[in-house]
């Protein structure tokens, strides 16, 4: 009992600390729904001290890159023609709910796909909006003064993948390019998906000098729905003049996803030499 008393504060401290303002925890951070069950769920947890109004909606979107290699997830209310969207036939129950302080709420997800849905993977995003009470910004409690209040809404977006049938995935990696600027090595990874499902993996970059010693490395989770050409930046500090090799490997190793959800695929690799003057 004495031991338990000693450990109790530490155990309680290990529980999530309450946030100071709005925002709910949405878990998991990616939902996979199988055609056999056509259902899933997410859990909301309000770690704050005030109730939060939560809304749940669906949109279409997936990561893409711009010409500079910046990744963005652009959301649209409707699915563009030719895209395998699931947002139109996904429903959430409830769609609006107030989550009390330090309370949790399960949101059920139900899919009602068309009867003749072909085998394949279908994509959507869940948008969970959390709105707290009005937040008074510093002002003067005087009817003759101008007082200002801002309401804060925080939206968390997570992916939904609906799978029907046996699916495969993979990527091809076109020749990478790299350059050194501003104490960093910048690498472009032109990735194109193969197979019938999105590729969820991890890109790892390492930079070694001519003696084979590592001078920098980085890794990033990548999601290739069609094609992606991200730019990864590896901080290396000031490099001495000479030759360096930039190595890239992309694999389906994802520590943040259950093993069965990131479909397996062969690892792809490439390397390129850069010269620092």
């Amino acid at each position: 009992m004495t031991k338990l008393r000693r450990w109790l504060p530490a155990l309680l401290a290990a529980l999530p600390a309450p946030a100071l303002a709005q925002g709910v925890v949405v878990a998991p951070h990616a939902v996979f729904i199988d055609h056999a069950t056509r259902a899933g769920s997410i859990t909301l947890y309000n770690p704050g001290e005030e109730p939060v109004e939560v809304s749940v909606s669906f949109a279409f979107g997936y990561p893409t890159t711009d010409s500079a290699g910046n990744v963005s997830v652009e959301l649209s209310d409707s699915t563009p023609p030719g895209e395998p969207g699931a947002a139109a036939w996904l429903q959430a129950f409830p769609r609006r709910v107030t989550v009390g302080q330090q309370q949790r709420q399960t949101i059920r997800l139900l899919a009602s796909p068309p009867a003749n849905l072909p085998n394949g993977e279908y994509w959507a995003r869940i948008v969970v909006g959390a709105k707290g009470g009005k937040v008074p910004v510093v002002g003067v409690p005087d009817s003759a003064a101008i007082t200002v209040g801002l309401t804060l809404e925080i939206r968390t977006v997570i992916s939904v993948v609906y799978r029907k049938g046996q699916l495969t995935t993979g990527v091809t990696l076109a020749p990478i390019s790299a350059g050194y600027a501003h104490d960093s090595v910048h690498v472009r990874l032109p990735l194109t998906r193969t197979g019938t499902a999105a590729y969820l993996g991890t890109a790892r970059v390492s930079v070694v000098n001519s003696a084979g010693d590592p001078v920098g490395q980085d890794e990033r989770a990548v999601a290739v729905y069609h094609a992606l050409n991200p730019r990864l930046t590896v901080p290396v500090g000031t490099l001495a003049p000479g030759s360096y090799t930039v190595r890239v490997s992309v694999s389906t190793d994802r520590a943040d996803l259950p093993g069965r959800e990131a479909l397996p695929a062969p690892t792809v690799e490439d390397a390129v030499e850069i010269i620092v003057q």
Partner: protein, 161 residues
């Protein structure tokens, strides 16, 4: 004694089931939270007030917690005006450098971004970051007194899913 001990262990087990197991089972969810309001202080008609994102007291501040070293996208929806009494409006202006991102969670060590467009940031090695927001309120010389309000929306997502 045994009953008490069992009760405490039971509470801890339930707490673990409630909070940890379901929420953390598939990696860390991305958890945004507002921690400080964007504050313009006392507004006087005709006197614009610009709050810098580096203002420790006035800047809006949001924390992010999530996967270690994960890249996240953040996007604000910012109001152009605040609604006040008798349909009066009070203009707000957000400039190209009014957003700030700090993986170090330091107001003195933030990278600026345009909060009017989607922006990217990378969480720290312990999965944390802070977003800062500045802006300008521009009451007109004839701005009616009263309470004004508007909504700021911040949307966040991982880019690797």
């Amino acid at each position: 004694m045994r009953r008490k001990r069992g009760r405490i262990l039971g509470v801890l087990a339930v707490a673990g089931l409630l909070f940890h197991v379901p929420l953390m089972a598939q990696g860390r969810p991305l958890v945004p939270a507002g921690t400080q309001d964007l504050g313009f202080g006392t507004l006087i008609p005709g006197i614009p007030v610009h709050v810098l994102r580096s203002d420790p007291v006035g800047s809006g501040q949001f924390t992010l917690r999530g996967q270690r070293n994960a890249q996240v996208q953040m996007q604000f929806i910012l109001p152009a005006t605040m609604a006040g009494p008798l349909a009066a409006t009070l203009p707000l202006i957000f400039g190209a450098t009014d957003g700030g991102f700090s993986a170090a969670e330091s107001i003195a060590n933030q990278a600026g971004f345009d909060p009017r467009a989607p922006a990217l940031g990378t969480l720290s090695s312990n999965g944390r970051a802070t977003i800062f927001l500045g802006g300008m309120a521009t009451p007109s010389p004839t701005q009616p007194a009263g309470a004004y309000s508007a909504t700021i929306t911040l949307t966040v997502s991982y880019t690797g899913l």
